[in-house]
């Protein structure tokens, strides 16, 4: 992270995003933060200021209000007088059993985890492409790598987003705009607080945040974080369907 970087974070109160914001603040970044929970946003801002952020602006945002997305993107592109990194972090992990029987819940999950971030990424691209600089980093998930009975609603949204980012990267390559697809494994955050967090497969948000900063520096296309998920997902994708169907994954 170069000192004074201009960073916009959508879903800034996500534990992973907040950890990234902290590291950035300690590197003297200038931050524009978007989230729905104003009190949490204020607490985060105070924390980041003490940590050394050169500037922190906060904006209330409802990411499922699609008509508001263009305005949010515009604010992000201009608030800091230009943008070096946009991190799109919001998302939710719905209960698949509910999605199986409740079409409205399925639609809401797809809206929040696919439609909204895809639209936002495109809106950000519109601003960054002519500037021929900047990075769009979006948190997808290893869950997007293969459909599984236990979470294919969420997985499909994340998988769709991966494909979307792949295309966007293709489009923006000539302009030199960096597109990063971040695929975390299990991370101990609010989203997974209902699961028994702990054990070798679980990472802390700090670790993921450090990996994100590294991938931005290296201009990687896809980041598996922690790194061993690349191996795990390579195997999971390769398991023959007949065998896969006998698992409870």
């Amino acid at each position: 992270m170069t000192s004074g970087s201009r960073i916009a974070i959508f879903g800034a109160t996500s534990d992973i995003a907040a950890a990234y914001a902290r590291r950035s603040a300690e590197g003297k970044a200038r931050l524009a933060l978007f989230a729905r929970d104003a009190a949490a946003l204020d607490a985060l801002k105070a924390d980041l200021v003490v940590r050394g952020a050169a500037e922190v602006q906060t904006f209330a945002a409802d990411f499922t209000d699609f008509s508001a997305l263009p305005g949010l993107a515009r604010t992000a592109l201009t608030a800091l007088g230009g943008l070096d990194v946009a991190l799109v972090a919001y998302g939710s992990l719905p209960d698949q059993k509910t999605l199986n029987t409740d079409p409205a819940a399925l639609r809401a999950a797809l809206d929040l985890n696919f439609t909204s971030p895809a639209m936002l990424a495109n809106l950000l691209a519109e601003g960054l492409e002519p500037a021929r600089a900047g990075a769009i980093a979006v948190i997808t998930s290893v869950a997007g790598d293969r459909g599984r009975q236990s979470n294919y609603g969420y997985g499909a949204a994340k998988g769709g987003l991966q494909t979307f980012l792949d295309g966007l990267r293709h489009r923006l390559a000539p302009a030199g705009v960096h597109v990063l697809d971040i695929r975390p494994g299990f991370v101990a955050t609010k989203m997974t607080a209902h699961l028994p967090q702990g054990g070798p497969l679980w990472a802390m948000p700090d670790k993921v945040a450090t990996d994100i900063a590294g991938a931005l520096r290296k201009r990687s296309a896809v980041l598996y974080t922690p790194w061993f998920w690349w191996g795990i997902m390579t195997i999971i994708r390769a398991v023959p369907r007949a065998v896969f169907h006998r698992t409870k994954l």
Binding site: E26, A39, A40, A43, L44, A46, D47, V50, R51, G52, K190, A193, H194, P196
Partner: protein, 450 residues
């Protein structure tokens, strides 16, 4: 707030048990848990060696997610932060050298930086400069405290001063600390000059200590607890002080190395301790002394270099013992304690001898008092170790001393009452929703006799 059965252990690893635990993400959520009915223990980063932060089978609130800074005033050094912020984070963020090499520093730092602000307050922890700057509580300006009756109070030397005094060193029993304001200290150089001096006998320790106390802010000694006879109490005296103009970066936020697994047997045994102590005592070479200038990290936090180091003690874990005895009989009692330990052949390499000064701690149950403090680890060998700890406890109590709750796993209720005469006054401030295995064991909470 979802609670689930989660194992929590004492740092020494002797006590490990499932707790009905929750880890609230915000101050509001934490306050709600405290006021939601039921009793619980408050748990910081779990660096207490014994049972002050445990409540086997019962409720536990883990406060480590309350880790936000709130405000820092670079003119006064006043820092306000949430209760679960770690000292390591404060150092990382605020103890950066300024142009003149000086900077803001925590006035009191214990032997590990991986503890929370609330943990530091609740045990009113001390550091190597206890004889100059007292304990952590002396530098706390105010705390934001919630009680289970729903009240949310700002406590300071002027607002609710009695509750404030009970909360410094209050063992997590007077209410839930949500945030605190600390007064950081500006030093003219963050780096320190430190000198290690080998000494051959306990008397030499007292001589060196008397000579160093005024001009060296940080002092402590390592002692070879296996040496006996003419070599009884031999060791290495370490003293340090800030050097104006010498900068140093904060120590790393996390250990670089970690012990990955618990070996099936303790790696700390008679043989390894003997070999270590013999080598360590000679580490200073022929001259017997060494002066160096640099970071305070390695000398203040030697154990923080290796994550999960208690695993080296094997699955049975270890006990830690720390007591302070008044200066009057200090040398004689220390000699008696060391003799008893040497004869038992049970000690480990980790031994610290340190003077406490005359800065009055402000907490009703604060541990530090003027005198000499001895701290050391004992691998858990069951009954034999408990018998030894019992003998040490008796020696300390006879000398009018006291034992440190943060380190203790077995002191008797009588010893606690004798060592902490303000106990009765303290009881008036206990929040009925708060408890701990320690508080029940030593009779702070009367309804559950030990």
């Amino acid at each position: 707030m979802s609670a689930r059965a989660t194992p929590y252990a004492s740092w020494g690893g002797v006590l490990r048990a499932p707790h009905i635990a929750c880890r609230p993400a915000t101050r509001a959520a934490a306050a709600e848990v405290l006021c939601g009915g039921g009793t619980m223990v408050l748990h910081g980063n779990g660096r207490s060696y014994g049972d002050v932060a445990l409540n086997p089978g019962g409720g536990l609130m883990d406060i480590t997610a309350l880790d936000r800074f709130i405000a820092f005033d670079p003119d006064t050094g006043l820092l306000t932060c949430e209760a679960g912020v770690k000292l390591s984070d404060i150092l990382e963020v605020l103890s950066r050298p300024q142009a003149d090499g000086g900077g803001w520093l925590l006035p009191v730092m214990p032997g590990t930086r991986f503890i929370t602000v609330a943990g530091a307050i609740a045990n009113d922890v001390h550091g190597k400069n206890a004889h100059h700057l007292g304990s952590f509580g002396n530098h706390v300006e105010q705390v934001e405290l919630v009680r289970s009756d729903g009240s949310r109070l700002t406590c300071s030397r002027t607002e609710h001063p009695d509750l404030f005094a009970a909360t410094l060193g209050g063992l997590g029993l007077t209410g839930l600390i949500l945030s605190a304001t600390l007064r950081l200290r500006r030093v003219p150089g963050l780096g320190i000059e430190s000198e290690d001096i080998r000494f051959g006998h306990l008397d030499d320790f007292f001589r060196l200590d008397a000579e160093s106390a005024d001009h060296w802010e940080y002092t402590a000694a390592w002692v070879d607890c296996l040496a006996s006879g003419a070599a009884l109490g031999r060791g290495i005296y370490s003293r340090g002080r800030h050097v104006p103009g010498v900068a140093c970066d904060p120590p790393a936020r996390a250990p670089r190395l970690s012990v990955p697994l618990t070996p099936p047997l303790s790696a700390v045994n008679g043989l390894s301790v003997r070999a270590f102590n013999a080598l360590y005592w000679r580490k200073l070479g022929g001259a017997g002394r060494r002066l160096s200038i640099g970071s305070y990290g390695p000398s203040f936090f030697p154990l923080d270099a290796i994550g999960q180091w208690p695993r080296l003690y094997g699955p049975r874990g270890f006990y830690q013992f720390q007591a302070v005895v008044p200066h009057a009989d200090g040398p004689a009692v220390t000699r008696e304690l060391l003799k008893t330990i040497a004869a038992s052949r049970q000690g480990s390499m980790l031994v610290v001898l340190k003077r406490f000064g005359t800065v009055e701690p402000e907490g009703l149950l604060s541990f530090p008092m003027p005198g000499i403090s001895l701290a050391l680890d004992f691998p858990n060998r069951g009954e034999a170790t408990l018998r030894l700890l019992g003998r040490l406890e008796s020696l300390v109590m006879e000398a009018g001393g006291r034992i440190y709750p943060a380190k203790d796993s077995c002191m008797r209720a009588e010893s606690f009452a004798q060592g902490y005469p303000a106990l009765d006054a303290f009881r008036a401030f206990i929040d009925p929703a708060l408890t701990s295995a320690f508080a029940r064991r030593v009779g702070i909470l009367k309804e559950f006799p030990a």
